[in-house]
């Protein structure tokens, strides 16, 4: 065989193609916006005092539900507390609950869905059976009862319950796309190379089947944030007074408060929406970056 005209080393130096497309992420303005939102919200969660000097519980009841004014950009909440600092301090719980829940159930769904979809048979039956039982239980009571058993509840307790009841549904997306991919010829080719089932799953099936799961997971970040509020209100969530966007939305929605002061609803919903948007865009960019055909 003839020799190559250039040695591999010089060639690589000349056309330094990144192995994965992750670097191209930074090229998209949408991704930038999403990244900025996430960074800002994360900063809020970590260092709320960077964003506000007002104690969120320094309240004056007579200012209840007053609108924005200088120094109080978002006005006052129902209790007459500065709403902006409430929002800032709410970032932590909301972000933690939303992101942890989404991330953990993503992982569980990924694993369970892949196993069920790829191996089928008994594995599938067991996993599907479990998920069916979970889906058949009314989440309302189940989470109430479970959370009630915990005397001290942290963010992780909430996340635990939310994950417990969310992986069962998301698992099915993974399962279905794995079922679609598992018989394709390149999977057979890998099998023919003697690649073990786990490697096949990890490096061939999952990358080609994970898209729907990413979509559903990023969308669920907001859902987790909202669900946390329900627990707090019911008395099985975090110890009150707690701050979170979910609680703020829930309080604003009670007793017709939103009719008197719609902004109380607007601001936390906006934050929740922006954060979800950021994660959705992030997921979308990630997906594009992982798909060699999508790169521009």
């Amino acid at each position: 065989m003839p020799e190559s005209t250039t040695s591999p080393q010089t060639a690589r130096a000349r056309r330094g193609r990144p192995r994965s497309g992750l670097r191209s992420l930074w090229k998209s303005p949408w991704f930038d916006i999403a990244a900025i939102i996430i960074v800002v919200v994360a900063l809020m969660a970590l260092f709320p005092s960077l964003f506000t000097h007002i104690d969120p519980r320094d309240c004056d009841l007579s200012k209840s539900r007053l609108g924005p004014e200088p120094g109080h950009l978002m006005g006052y909440d129902i209790q007459g507390c500065d709403y902006w600092s409430n929002i800032v301090y709410g970032a932590r719980t909301s972000l933690e609950v939303g992101v942890y829940t989404a991330a953990i159930s993503f992982v569980i769904a990924l694993v369970a869905g892949s196993l069920a979809g790829y191996f089928g048979g008994v594995v599938d039956s067991v996993i599907s059976w479990t998920s069916n039982v979970i889906l058949g239980i009314p989440v309302g009571i189940a989470s109430l009862v479970i959370l009630y058993q915990f005397r001290s509840r942290t963010v992780w307790t909430i996340v635990f319950v939310l994950v417990l009841f969310s992986w069962a549904a998301t698992m099915r997306y993974m399962r279905s796309s794995v079922m679609q991919v598992r018989n394709l010829e390149y999977i057979q080719a890998a099998r023919g190379l003697g690649v073990g089932p786990w490697r096949i799953l990890g490096s061939h099936v999952i990358p080609n089947a994970v898209t729907p799961l990413i979509v559903m997971t990023t969308l669920s970040v907001g859902a987790g944030m909202a669900a946390e509020a329900g627990f707090s209100i019911l008395g099985v969530g975090l110890k009150l007074p707690a701050f979170s966007w979910g609680i703020q939305i829930a309080l604003a929605s009670q007793d017709g408060n939103w009719q008197i002061a719609p902004l109380l609803m607007f601001f936390p919903a906006l934050m929740l929406g922006l954060t979800t948007l950021a994660f959705v865009v992030l997921g979308e960019s990630l997906r594009d970056a992982l798909d060699p055909k999508a790169r521009r």
């Binding site: 003839p2 005209t5 193609r17 990144p18 790169r295």
Partner: protein, 332 residues
């Protein structure tokens, strides 16, 4: 008189993030008339399929970009034709057989549906009628037991059968131009002969123009009137197939013909063109073929040869075509 299909100086680039664009096609020109068969030969990876896709208007987006040239079909420039008018050309007047038939067929539609779709979309036929016509086409390309297999899915067919489905699809609407990208590679000799006969018949009877990409010089010789040899994204040589095979004017063509195996080689190595096939991302300066060329001179390493006509209907992009022709003919 202009030809039915006239590709002029087509140039095309591939782009990918973080890399300089790759000029996949440079100044590719070709013409094709009614009833004529043009064989496109050339190195693997030289841009044959890309040329075909460019004509079809189905280049991969957003990776590729046409940087120059025109594709005239029946008086229209396909590159600037509005989408709705282009669609009336695609499939109906210009049709294409794709190189890899499994990926090119929709995995979740039965093969008959996919053929019938053409009748339904372009001819407005009813469902039943289109289905029947589809089965008829499947028979024409010699799918055994066509009526019974019509409702099978592509993955249930063998490689050659899928390829024939692609051919059936391309021929379904009696196109004016058929672009066939290695249409018979997966067919055994008997079926291949039948399909080639069928193609020959259609070009004769219906004055269809056939642009046939192939590596099988036998097939080319049997079917084509003219041939076009591509090398590294450029046209190396073009001309009537007979005279070209007899006296190639480009060293690559010559090398190609010289690589045809014969009984004499049994047990030993087959002849090849020396050197490594070029990478279009890194063409050497001057003539792309110069590192592998026995005729190469200093001029070849610096000056890009143009596709010069030299005999009636023949052209070659070589600084030394005279010498090449003069050398003794090669091969069988």
């Amino acid at each position: 008189m202009t030809a039915l299909l006239d590709v002029q100086n087509l140039s095309l680039e591939f782009r990918s993030p973080g890399n300089p664009p790759i000029a996949a096609l440079q100044d590719v020109s070709l013409t094709l008339d009614r009833g004529e068969t043009l064989a496109v030969l050339g190195e693997s990876g030289s841009g044959k399929s890309i040329t075909a896709k460019a004509i079809m208007g189905i280049l991969p987006k957003p990776a590729s970009r046409i940087t120059g040239g025109r594709i005239m079909f029946d008086g229209d420039d396909l590159l600037t034709l509005p989408p709705t008018r282009l669609r009336r050309v695609q499939g109906a007047r210009i049709a294409m057989v794709f190189q890899d038939a499994l990926s090119a067929l929709n995995p979740v539609q039965t093969v008959a549906t996919q053929i019938a779709e053409l009748y339904r979309v372009h001819r407005g036929m009813g469902k039943k009628q289109a289905h029947a016509a589809a089965i008829e086409m499947m028979r024409a390309v010699r799918i055994p037991d066509a009526a019974n297999r019509a409702d099978d899915y592509p993955f249930q067919f063998s490689g050659g059968m899928r390829q024939r489905i692609m051919i059936a699809m391309a021929l379904a609407l009696d196109p004016d131009v058929l672009i066939a990208d290695e249409p018979t590679t997966a067919l055994d000799a008997t079926v291949q002969a039948q399909i080639l006969d069928l193609l020959g018949e259609i070009t004769q009877e219906r004055q269809m123009a056939l642009l046939m990409i192939t590596h099988d010089l036998g097939v080319a010789g049997q079917l084509a009137d003219r041939a076009l040899v591509m090398y590294a994204g450029r046209v190396a040589e073009s001309g009537p197939i007979g005279s070209m095979f007899e006296s190639p004017a480009h060293p690559y063509t010559k090398g190609l013909l010289g690589s045809i195996p014969s009984a004499a080689h049994r047990g030993g190595d087959l002849p090849t063109i020396q050197g490594l096939p070029p990478d279009i991302a890194r063409r050497p300066p001057g003539c792309s073929f110069n590192p592998r060329c026995g005729y190469a001179t200093a001029q070849c390493r610096t000056v890009l040869p143009h596709l010069d006509p030299f005999a009636p209907d023949r052209a070659a992009a070589c600084h030394h075509k005279g010498e090449v022709i003069a050398d003794a003919p090669v091969g069988a």
